[in-house]
């Protein structure tokens, strides 16, 4: 006889929700998303744009804009060994990170390939929060092997978060009563009581402009959104969707997971993943600290100099080099890489892109084969690309404390 099953009532089973999930701000974001244009991010509906992507993008450069970051994956690391554990996992020196600060980080495999990138919040001596675009708990638990005093919790659904970005963002927060926020330095964290609860504000973001991220209990989500838009009206507030955020981040010189790089743990083909050096993240690889995962491989790679380069490109003409193949010559004879992200930048009036270039061609000429369309008809042109070392957009106000009011 087969082993007996004991059926339970269908309602007592925790069936997963089928279909797309709603973030704590959904009632508000969906009201503003007048065309119901959504993408799916970690299973959650994320606005592609609300009313007009260009207008919303300009708000990040000209006024302020709000992006719902709640679908981001958030993990809490707690315990006396947590600093040592994280220090072994990420490439930067965690022991040097002060309480109430944030540090952009990557973590790699033993082979020195990037698993993911994210922001590490030091909340206390023995407590951190790590935010990343994709789920990563399995890797964190593997990385914690040998550290008995570390507790790692997925708090993604317990924390709602908003990014408020743009020149008037500080002024708006002040007007809302977040006193002292103007003294918050880049990558610093401050906490405020608000509406019977607590809001944590970090001076961080993904637009390269003055901006903050707000972290709160999901119960405060709707009142916070309402307060921001109520008070924000006079500060030019706009909701921000994926499309506009993607433009802002590219101008600011930030890379995007699953766009500019492919996480090592998901990668099937050899070399379809990346090292931090390839991604231009050498500046956060710290060889002065003690051992960390991937160190030996990264030291070898750095010494060899033999790694591809993700470079910022300024491309002639005004046709975005989306999906372009890159060449060492204008006749497109020698293929040397490809474009990972591209756009026309409305604020800088430049045709910009990220290109991943073979090591030995990194210092030579770069040409992009660009396809563009006019009334459905396709045209091809070969455009000269100039390598640029600084981000296209990095206004002074993003670094100033206190920042200007607009």
């Amino acid at each position: 006889m087969p082993l007996q099953a004991k059926l339970q009532s269908v309602d007592s089973i925790s069936h997963v929700e089928t279909g797309v999930l709603h973030s704590p701000f959904h009632s508000r974001t969906s009201a503003l998303n007048i065309n119901q244009q959504w993408s799916v991010w970690n299973g959650f509906a994320s606005a592609i744009y609300y009313g007009d992507a260009l207008l919303e993008y300009f708000a990040t450069r000209n006024a302020c804009a709000v992006f719902d970051v709640s679908p981001m994956r958030k993990y809490r690391f707690q315990g006396v060994e947590v600093e040592a554990m994280l220090n072994r996992m990420v490439t930067r020196d965690v022991t040097a990170q002060k309480v109430d600060t944030v540090a952009y980080n990557v973590w790699c495999t033993d082979a020195g390939r990037v698993v993911d990138d994210g922001t590490l919040f030091r909340l206390a001596n023995d407590e951190f929060m790590l935010c990343c675009a994709d789920p990563c708990l399995d890797w964190f638990l593997l990385s914690a092997v040998g550290f008995s005093q570390v507790e790692i919790t997925d708090i993604s659904d317990a924390v709602a978060s908003l990014a408020l970005q743009g020149p008037t963002s500080c002024a708006l927060l002040k007007a809302m009563g977040f006193d002292g926020i103007d003294h918050c330095k880049p990558f610093q964290i401050m906490r405020f009581p608000w509406n019977g609860g607590d809001i944590m504000i970090s001076r961080t973001g993904y637009t390269g402009d003055l901006g903050y991220e707000l972290w709160l209990d999901p119960g405060l989500a709707e009142p916070l959104w309402d307060a921001l838009f109520e008070q924000g009206r006079v500060f030019g507030i706009q909701p921000l969707g994926d499309e506009s955020l993607d433009m802002a981040r590219l101008e600011a010189g930030f890379i995007a997971p699953d766009v500019d790089f492919h996480g090592a743990l998901h990668t099937v083909e050899l070399h379809h993943d990346h090292s931090p050096f390839e991604l231009g993240l050498g500046w956060i690889v710290n060889f002065k600290k003690t051992h960390f995962t991937g160190r030996a491989a990264l030291e070898r790679e750095k010494a060899s100099g033999n790694y591809r380069r993700l470079v910022k490109l300024d491309i002639e003409g005004n046709k975005p080099a989306e999906n372009s193949v890159l060449y060492a010559d204008s006749h497109c004879r020698r293929e040397i890489g490809y474009v990972t992200s591209a756009m026309w930048s409305p604020v800088v009036k430049a045709n910009i892109a990220y290109g991943l270039i073979e090591a030995k061609y990194a210092d030579g000429e770069i040409w992009a084969e660009v396809y563009h369309q006019k009334e459905l008809r396709w045209y091809r042109k070969v455009a000269r690309c100039l390598k640029v070392s600084k981000p296209f957009w990095s206004p002074e106000r993003a670094k100033q404390t206190p920042p200007p009011d607009c």
């Binding site: 087969p2 004991k6 339970q8 269908v10 089928t18 399995d138 998901h266």
Partner: protein
């Protein structure tokens, strides 16, 4: 009957038909002789109960080489492979774990059982996919003889080395390790939750006389994800009209090129004169002559049943005798008069259309195997139930259903021999298993076909009912399939060839064995190669 042909193919399984189609397409005069009154072997659809069409043996398709589908114009000959999805694995608690087609839902479903495993799936899938992409390169190629210095073998070895090197040194070592592992141990390396493991484990024991913790089953897992549906590697589809539609379409191509099929014509022996195959003699005494004789039968049957021991080298006879081809699977095909209820799933839930399994731990699977080792069918069997007709309206009238159940484990021999009563008792165990989770299932049954390895052997001629024409263990794969020294489709005498699943790349409805065999035959005949080589996009 005393016509002479250029080539005779013994057996109208889909591989035999594929070989024959290519030989005919090349211009040869070809005859396929089949013992049954229907064609297709284990890729067959039959209406055993009026109004219901069964995929009697194989029931889902992924391995069929797209380049052959295209090259033989099988779509025009009536073939369509349609996708289907959603697997639910019921646990004894009444809960379940499911495989959703949507990435995010799948993530949430696994997360419901284990937070950690939900993330580990990416790592697991990427690693398995790496190996799948590797071996896909070799499906439509003749294995190299690693001891030969012939340019062709050396070229093939270089090809192989390049593909391996393409994975990187570290991964080559991982792959070698993987090939020797058990599926259970492999899954244990990634996952902590038993239900999660069961969800990914089941294809490791399909058709296999091993337990999930027996070394070598990790490869069987891979064998089931190396196929694809339209480039989605690892995906499975259904043949519209049942699996027989595949054989029928290939037969259509064969006939279009002038080939003939003779059914109800069991071959008694392959005729050999002066170390050359000269034709076949049927059980009714008829002789048919041809310079080329191709056997679609499994290697054991080919060399121990239809060849005279005197015609073949002693060591080959020995290898054939020792060939591992143990039967371990049963099949129960069921005609239902309504859709069965599975009360664990909410009414109308998307998973209701999918495949059902009834398993909640690897240990239970191992226990099911223990029964087999003792010569009994599993008291608590693993059942994979595919609701084929939900996706294919040609199989049953609206409101009626055909479900195909694949069962592990069922031995080829039971104490005192198989009898119809024992066969039905085996079938009852399967229905008991399903009824555990679907209280109204039994009441809906209009007809069922219960097949133990005994029936499978008697009807299709698969020795011991082994579904792959020989086990898929490392000692019987690649250049060892079926035996070392015989992996290039050639038999021991001139003009005699093998084209069944017992040859590389092994079991499953792939057409690859048949196509590879045809390529070798054409090479020996010094005719231009017309068989597509590569099926893999790079």
């Amino acid at each position: 009957m005393n016509r002479t042909y250029d080539a005779i193919v013994i057996g109208a399984g889909h591989n035999g038909l594929t070989s024959a189609a290519y030989l005919a397409k090349s211009g040869l005069d070809v005859l396929v002789v089949e013992k049954n009154d229907y064609i297709g072997g284990a890729a067959v659809s039959r209406e055993l109960h009026e109004g219901w069409l069964y995929s009697n043996c194989s029931y889902v398709c992924s391995l069929l080489r797209q380049s052959i589908h295209r090259d033989l114009d099988l779509t025009r000959h009536g073939l369509m492979i349609v996708p289907y999805n959603g697997t639910t694995n019921f646990s004894r608690t009444g809960d379940y774990i499911a495989e959703y087609p949507d990435h995010d839902m799948q993530y949430r479903e696994i997360r419901r059982h284990s937070l950690r495993d939900a993330d580990a799936v990416h790592r697991y899938e990427a690693d398995l996919m790496r190996y799948a992409r590797l071996i896909r390169h070799f499906l439509l190629r003749t294995p190299a003889d690693p001891t030969s210095f012939k340019p062709r073998d050396l070229g093939e070895l270089v090809f192989m080395a390049k593909k391996f090197a393409g994975m990187g040194e570290e991964q080559v070592l991982e792959f070698i390790r993987f090939m020797t592992m058990s599926a259970g141990d492999y899954l244990d390396e990634y996952f902590e939750n038993d239900l999660v493991k069961t969800l990914f484990s089941t294809s490791s024991i399909i058709g296999t006389a091993l337990g999930v913790y027996s070394p070598g089953t990790a490869y069987v897992l891979l064998h089931h994800v190396m196929g694809d549906v339209d480039g989605a590697v690892g995906a499975w589809g259904l043949a519209r009209g049942g699996m027989g539609a595949i054989s029928d379409a290939i037969a259509g191509a064969l006939k279009e090129h002038g080939g003939e099929i003779l059914t109800e014509a069991p071959v008694a022996q392959i005729l050999v004169r002066n170390s050359r195959a000269t034709g076949v003699v049927l059980e009714n005494g008829d002789e048919i002559h041809a310079g080329i004789v191709v056997s679609n039968l499994d290697p054991k049957r080919t060399f121990t049943h239809i060849m005279d021991q005197k015609d073949i080298p002693e060591d080959l006879y020995d290898k054939a005798r020792n060939f591992k081809i143990r039967g371990s699977s049963g099949k129960v095909n069921i005609a239902l008069t309504g859709m069965p209820d599975f009360p664990s799933l909410p009414p109308g839930h998307m998973l209701r259309n999918g495949t059902f399994q009834f398993l909640d731990s690897l240990e239970r699977m191992e226990r099911a195997y223990d029964d087999w080792k003792h010569g009994r069918w599993s008291a608590d069997p693993f059942v994979e139930m595919t609701q084929s007709s939900v996706w294919d309206p040609t199989l049953a009238a609206p409101g009626h259903y055909f479900v195909s159940c694949f069962i592990q484990y069922c031995p080829a021999e039971v104490e005192g021999g198989w009898t119809p009563e024992k066969r039905d008792a085996f079938g009852d165990t399967v229905i008991d298993q399903i009824s555990n989770y679907s209280p109204n299932f039994r009441d809906l049954i209009a007809h069922m076909e219960v097949r133990t390895p005994h029936e499978i052997e008697n009807e299709i001629g698969l020795t011991e009912g082994n579904i792959f024409q020989g086990e898929l263990t490392l000692d019987q794969l690649m250049f060892n399939r079926p035996f070392p020294g015989y992996s290039q489709y050639r038999g021991p005498v001139k003009g005699m060839y093998m084209c069944g699943s017992g040859t590389h790349p092994g079991g499953g409805v792939s057409s690859a064995c048949g196509a590879n065999a045809a390529r070798e035959i054409l090479l020996d005949l010094k005719r231009p190669n017309i068989v597509p080589e590569d099926d893999v996009d790079e």
